[in-house]
């Protein structure tokens, strides 16, 4: 009998390839659910989920909330900026107080890497990581791989280039773990200052020339420059970054093959990707967003179904 191996989703590193395949098979079902006139199923009707966001978010928070509502769960939303966190309450106290109101599952985003692992040792509720600092963003990696599988038939054997600010990106790390577990080849591409020094020890190729990366890959996942996490200057100017690492129509047209373009959002149009590329037929950016709801429904369904 198939079973999800973990009680929480803390990161892709902790889960198995079978877990990922199980999420995909379940997400296939939820994708048909969210595309029919009645987009709701009653599975999680006796579950309450708290969405606790200590960092800003548009897509992830709405996507999780829609996924919860389409599973018939009760939802409470919490954002740090408008809460007692500003009065000095600790993370464990904040979450314990929310759980005292009978909450079964916590979806959390936190700026500190490992915050979820710490929390899982102190509370009983199931935890889903919606991003922890520069560490992991597991549901984003799952929906990215799910979108590649949907577009290209499978992930195994595909070549995926992750381009941009790898150092500050949790999407990059989760994607590397997820794609490798599914048998893809991964390359990271960006200026030396934005690529962690020992990243090749994870088994990824490293490239500093965007055109070489594009010529190599089947899929290019373009990442945003995370200015909010950069306390020092990593490159001279956004204009220079864009000239060297921005994906535009000219570069895309100069390739002798078609590649798939992805972006986890939010897009900085004209920096890492130009509008004509982001809106072109090569781009599956909005498919990623749609798949995000189905994948998150699958993750919550599989976790909640364990009790």
């Amino acid at each position: 009998m198939k079973k999800f191996s973990q009680r929480h989703l803390l990161g892709i590193k902790e889960i198995t390839t079978d877990d990922i395949e199980l999420v995909f098979e379940t997400a296939d079902n939820f994708k048909t659910v969210i595309n029919r006139p009645i987009k709701k199923v009653p599975s999680l009707r006796d579950i309450t989920v708290a969405n606790i966001f200590f960092e800003n978010s548009t897509r992830t928070r709405i996507s999780f909330e829609l996924a919860q509502k389409r599973l018939s769960a009760d939802v409470v939303n919490f954002s740090a900026s408008s809460s007692s966190v500003t009065k000095g309450e600790t993370l464990v106290d904040t979450v314990k107080n929310i759980l005292a109101m009978k909450v079964d599952m916590v979806v959390m985003r936190h700026p500190a890497p490992g915050a979820h692992i710490f929390l899982s040792k102190h509370i009983d509720a199931q935890i889903i990581n919606a991003g922890d600092g520069t560490h992991e963003h597991p549901t984003q990696a799952l929906l990215d791989a799910f979108s590649i599988r949907e577009k290209l038939g499978s992930v195994k054997g595909k070549k995926i280039a992750i381009v941009g600010d790898i150092t500050h990106s949790r999407v990059a790390l989760s994607n590397i773990f997820c794609l490798q577990k599914l048998g893809a080849e991964v390359m990271v591409c960006g200026p030396t200052t934005l690529i962690p020094k020992y990243i090749s020890s994870l088994g990824v190729k490293v490239e500093h020339d965007l055109m070489k990366a594009l010529n190599w890959c089947d899929v290019a996942n373009m990442l945003r420059i995370q200015l909010e996490r950069q306390d020092i200057k990593y490159f001279p100017s956004l204009r220079e970054y864009s000239m060297l690492y921005g994906l535009d129509k000219k570069r895309l047209d100069s390739l002798d093959k078609e590649i798939v373009i992805m972006h986890p959002g939010p897009i900085n149009r004209g920096v890492e990707i130009t509008s004509d590329v982001a809106d072109s037929k090569h781009s599956i950016i909005l498919n990623q967003v749609e798949n995000g709801v189905a994948v998150r429904m699958a993750v919550m369904y599989l976790l909640a179904g364990q009790n």
């Binding site: 009998m1 198939k2 079973k3 999800f4 199980l22 098979e25 379940t26 296939d28 079902n29 048909t32 659910v33 029919r36 006139p37 009645i38 709701k40 199923v41 009653p42 599975s43 006796d46 579950i47 369904y301 599989l302 909640a304 179904g305 364990q306 009790n307």
Partner: protein, 181 residues
Amino acid sequence: MTSKKIIEEKQLEIIIDRLCYELIEKHSDFSNTAIIGLQPRGIFLSRRIHQRISTILKNKKILYGELDIAFYRDDFRRGHEQIIPSEMKIDFTVQDKNIVIIDDVLFTGRTIRAALDALTDFGRPSKVELLVLIDRQYSRHLPIQPDYVGLRVDTGVNEKVKVEWKEKAKHDLVHIITELK
């Protein structure tokens, strides 16, 4: 553990034929009727019935779907096993249609309760009927009864009805397995 055969290949063929003619008697040319098999185990029977009726009605195209009830089960989080969904294939609207739900074994009726919930999420059918191969009578937890039955059997709580299909087990066979105490 003992096992008693109750239906073998030849007999199954005759039962399926009879069920098909009963359906045709009621739904004539199937112009407003759709057949829906329940995942994961009812689909082998529903596929055969769908095919047989199409043949009897001279290759008429009959609306056919497969419904998965995993998301509608009442034992989610209450059982010991994780409930894994199966593929759902209904590419037509059930609004105002006559629906024949098909499953292999009717026992407590809980699966059919879930199926009725799932079905109404695809629209409001004009009428819903139930066809099962085996009816384990006197075992119901809910007021649900079949309209078409292959075979009625009396079984105890320590017994299980196992249906094997050629498509999965190399032979067609229905047997009752009794757990010895």
